[in-house]
Amino acid sequence: MKLRRTLAAGLMAGATLLAGCGIEPWVKPYERERLADPIMKFTRDPLADKHREHVFDVREAAHGATGVQGGGCGCN
């Protein structure tokens, strides 16, 4: 599909950019205090969120793209 190929090309470009450009991460690990707060999490309760997604899945035609979490304290 065209979408797939565009995606792949975009990702390739992203890789070269990240690897070659040398842009420094602008948020240091010791500045991530606010990001580690639970209110900054997209999903806090896997069971409850899964149930709510199921309720919508059964009644709505749209599904997918509910997301995997990043951010957080970035420790380790």
Partner: protein, 172 residues
């Protein structure tokens, strides 16, 4: 099922794997790994000022931590035990806290019963000086003030490595 779609799959996977490889190959840690330990003075939680240079002659461990960092909280009691065991032999442990609000640092410190000095780096000057790239980070400095070992992050079992390295530096 659109079979044409799937024929792109191995190619797409190869491209994505390449991307991840390129992105991940960026050097993860550019923190201090050797040379003289940069000097600094920080306010400690006990109230007094503490200067790194004054610890010359002792083996110093700098541990950068924060109240919001999970692995840091797991590591602390183990570091506390190391401090109690080796302090008399010339081992100094300095906990450098990077919390914005010192009350959070004080809370965790009293809850875990930390015996070693906790220095407050709210302005993040020492974190920048040591090019802190991971939370937590542990830096081992020998009696001459040189950086000997750097540990990034904390996982179960690291404290055993710390103990071996402390003993080695104490013997020098």
């Amino acid at each position: 099922m659109n079979l044409r779609l799937l024929s792109y799959a191995p190619r797409t996977a190869a491209i994505i794997a390449l991307w991840l490889a390129a992105a991940a190959s960026q050097s993860a840690a550019s923190a201090l790994t050797s040379g003289p330990a940069p000097d600094f003075t920080l306010h400690s939680m006990a109230g007094s000022n503490l200067r790194l240079m004054e610890q010359r002659g002792q083996v110093v461990m700098l541990n950068f931590w924060a109240s919001w960092c999970g692995p840091c909280r797991v590591e602390m009691p183990r570091l506390n035990r190391l401090y109690q065991k080796y302090h008399a032999s010339g081992f100094q442990l300095l906990g450098v806290n990077v919390d914005d609000d010192i009350r959070n640092a004080a809370g965790v410190s009293s809850k875990l019963g930390l015996q070693f000095p906790v220095l407050l780096d709210t302005e993040k000057t020492v974190s920048r000086l040591y090019d802190l790239s991971t939370m937590p980070s542990t830096v081992l400095i020998d009696r001459d003030g040189r950086v000997r070992y750097v540990h990034l992050g904390y996982k179960d079992g690291y404290e055993q490595t710390y103990e071996e390295q402390i003993k080695e530096l104490l013997r020098e």
